[in-house]
Each structure stands twice: as C-alpha cells, then as structure tokens.
Symmetry: C2
Subunit: 284 residues, 2 copies
C-alpha cells in the first residue's frame, strides 16, 4: 500500500468511527457511507469490520450489520456484563457516601440522576438489556425520570415520550389516567395523544421504583393509546413491582434503608440486576 | 512501517477516536491515553493531532489541547457556523409542518423538545456558543427544558441542576423564589442548596422564552445561592428577555404567530441567532 493510501485509510476510519458512534442505533447503508467517505463500498465494509472488531475488544460498543434490502450497519453502545457490574458498583460507592444523608432518612441522589455522565452510562446499559425486545419508543414520567430515559432513548436511536402530572392546552388531545401512589395520594398522569403512535412497543424508564404505581399508570396510558409496554428499567427500587402481567423488568440498585442515626446507607445491587448478570447471553 | 505496526496504528486510532468523542469536555492526559493504548506518549500525541485534523475538516468537532501541569487533550463537539445555520433551518422546516397546529393557536413541539436526536444537535450548538464564557454548571427549569439542558451539559462535560416548582423533602435544604409569569400567575421555583456550589458560573438553558420570568427566577436562585448566571440559551422565543443586567443570550428560533385559520406557522431564526452567525469568529 502506498503511503498516501495508508494515510487516506486512517483518515477515513477516524471519520467513520466518529459518524457511527455519534448516532447510536442509526442505520447507515454502505452506499451512504461510501458516498460520504469517497471510498468503494467494499473498502468501507472492510473498514467497518475493523472498527467493530476494535470496539468489541475494548468493550466500547459494537457495529451491528442488518441484512436485507433496507439493511446497513449501525453502532450500538453495547455494555458487557463486566462493564455493567462495574457501573453498578461505582454507583453504589458514589451513593453510599454518608454526606448524602438527608434528615428524615432520605438519600440525596438528585445530582446523580441529573448527571449527563451517569445518565449516559446507565442509558447504554438499559439499551443493551432491552434492545432484544425491539421497542420503538421510550416513555417516562416527569421529572427525574427524564435524563435516564433520554439517555436510554439516545443509545437505542428511539424517540422519547414524557408523561406529565397535568395535560397542557399547547399539546392538543391528551389521555389522562389516575393512579394511587405508595403514599396513598391520588395523582393524574397525562400524555398527548400524538406522543405515542398506535401499535408502539414501549420501554418504560424511571429513576425510582416504589411499589410500581407510576409504572402501572404508564402501562395504563400505553394501553389506552393502543400501544403496549414491553419492558421497564429503573435506576433504583425500594420494592420491586408486583406484576399481574409479565413485564420484563430491570432495576440496578435496591435501597434497603437509610439510617440517620447510624449514618448507614443500605444500598445493594437489585435482584433483577443480579439475575441479569448471571444469565449467560451471547452479547456478554 | 511494518504491516503489523500500521495495523496497530489503525486499531489504536479507532479506540482513541471512540474514547475522546464519547466524553465531550473530559480532559485526558497523554500519559493516561498512552497507558490505555500501550503506545508511547509521543505516538499518542501524533495520533490525537491526526484525529483532530480529520474531525475539524469534516465539521465533526475538534480536539483541544490544554497546556500546563494539569493539561491534556479534550474533545469538543464544536458546531461550525455553517452547521448551526443548517440545523436551525432544519428545525424551522420540521416545526412549520401545518400538522403541528393545535386548536387555540398553539404549535406542537413536544416531540422535538423530547427528541434525543434534536437535543444532542442543539446541545452541541449551545456548547460551542457558550464554552468561551467558562461556565461550570448548566441550570434549567423542569420539565421541558431538561432534555436540551442535559444535552448541553453533556457536550460541555458539565453537571446539570434542575429547578422545580416545589421543594422536596428528599433533597434537603432548598432555596425558593417566586416569579410572576407572563400570564400573570405567581409561581414558585425551588432548588436544593447543594445543587449549585457557591461561586459557580451558571449557564441557563430552556426550551421557550416568553418575556423571561423563568429566566429571572433562575437568575435569582443563582444569586441567592452565591452563584452567577453568565449566559442563557433557548430553543425558541416569542419575546426576547428584557435584561437590566448584561447576560449573554442566544435563542435559535422566533415564533411570531401561529394562525389556526390560515394554517400558517410564523417561525424564523431569532435575532440573537442571526447576530451569532454574522460574528466572524475563529471557531467558525
């Protein structure tokens, strides 16, 4: 290979790596990538195979090939079981800091929940876990669910819908349901009609799971809009949801107890997360 | 160069490109990157220079070198003036669809505001525009401001704080201010004490600017917590804020009128955005 050609290849591969990894889940046809880089399709195909190999080995995601007429390649920020375990461990260390204790037995988690750094990593994990279900929407409840849900939707290349406590005149026809929260209050949850297309397969993402009233409300909203909740991902649970129907569920952390007096935070990996780590899957 | 060495270089560059671009704003020391890739610092330095050159030329961001003892390199998703213009134009096309008209003279924008696709692109533009101000926090008001603010914070490598309508017992001591909204209602805005460290330089990000009462509330919250708002970015304005103090301000779009009867959406680039395009800056 001439020096010039080698140089051209390195440059092409930098551009391809950046393009693919900037848009997780987005399908690029080889023709499209060939045109953008000015190289032959066979050349681009070789480059993409190399990128895939390097990223997989380094645990930095993977390039998936989709066959068929509408096929192409797409990058997925796949998180290995090992990286998933490390991430959850790092979250436990971060959140178990006694400086996070709030009088009344609460744990300050707001900074982590709104952090782009943590949201991106957790979102990639949720995407890896739930991509096999083939969802075509992500749904959450305002407010604290939004960063995680947005990061998950980004990692899957999907749109996001956000249920709110009130319907807005600016959003047109909307569906509302009522839920009884774990503290016994009745609350409304509302979603614009056009936020979820009929027939959608919906992945629900939330920050906290406390008995599952929000989850039930979001499932109701999906059903009333002719869509179906296929899975639910949460950062932290105090109580895993009791489901009548089978719903694929994952929480990373379980918050057992926060004790003001002893300054102890009882935070551990959730049961559903341990099961996930133990499954021997091919994407590990 | 031997074939093996050439191959090793391509592989190293794929990994470096992915690592750098996955964490915008994060400073990597050359020693750190050398250790991760198993190459010499001088080699990594050459690789990074090449990555920077390719990305800049393709308008896919830039690698910045920070000198000094705590120095290193960091990738920034820099948006050129040309890409900024194209993005705003694409937003106008997307949002001017008459199918978005809602009875009462409203425009349905919720899907765009919650879209990871648009949020990421707009966030990168805001980051490019406001990075020179050296903010160390991004702040928004729940709910619709969150996706844009999160994407902006991600692109700058900064943490995010979210003001809420009520303070929460789970978040410890909090600061509240009252604002009079453009519709004449009095509303509260609240922020946990620990969400914004004293002395912070804060970039405010919101979806919509209508006279600026939310902006004033957020500025008040900053001041009461011993921090300072240094800039404000919004997706869309109906009225640019009237500022007593100088605050660096950018909105992308101006919504003039939404007319039910004629099915016309009056959407154009905001004045502050046109000024931004016209400034001849070195980062263009």
């Amino acid at each position: 290979m001439a020096r010039e050609a080698r140089y051209a290849r390195v440059r092409r591969i930098v551009g391809l790596t950046r393009r693919l990894t900037a848009a997780p889940g987005r399908l690029y046809s080889l023709a499209e990538l060939a045109e953008e880089t000015g190289a032959a399709r066979s050349t681009v195909s070789e480059d993409v195979a190399l990128i895939d190999e390097v990223l997989r080995e380094a645990g930095l995601g993977a390039v998936e090939t989709v066959t068929g007429a509408a096929g192409g390649v797409r990058w997925l920020d796949t998180v290995s079981r090992e990286r998933a375990r490390e991430l959850t461990q790092a979250l436990i260390v971060e959140l178990s800091d006694p400086g996070r204790l709030i009088p009344g037995g609460f744990l300050y988690m707001t900074d982590v929940i709104f952090s782009p750094f943590w949201a991106e990593r957790i979102g990639a994990l949720f995407a890896t876990r739930f991509l096999p279900l083939g969802p075509d929407m992500v749904l959450t409840m305002e407010t604290k669910g939004i960063p995680l849900a947005l990061a998950t939707a980004r990692a899957m290349g999907l749109p996001l819908a956000v249920a709110r406590r009130e319907s807005r005149v600016t959003e047109g026809p909307s569906m509302s349901v009522n839920v009884v929260t774990s503290s016994g209050r009745i609350g409304a949850m509302s979603l614009p009609r056009r936020a979820i297309p009929t027939g959608s397969r919906v992945l629900i993402v939330d920050d906290f799971m406390k008995g599952g009233s929000t989850l039930r409300g979001l499932e109701d909203l999906c059903r009333e809009l002719g869509a179906r909740a296929v899975g639910c991902a949460a950062l932290c649970e105090t109580l895993a949801p009791q489901q009548q129907r089978p719903l694929d569920y994952l929480a990373l952390l379980r918050l057992e107890a926060v004790d003001d007096a002893s300054r102890i935070v009882g935070l551990s990996p959730a049961e559903s997360f341990i099961r996930y780590l133990e499954e021997a899957r091919s994407d590990a």
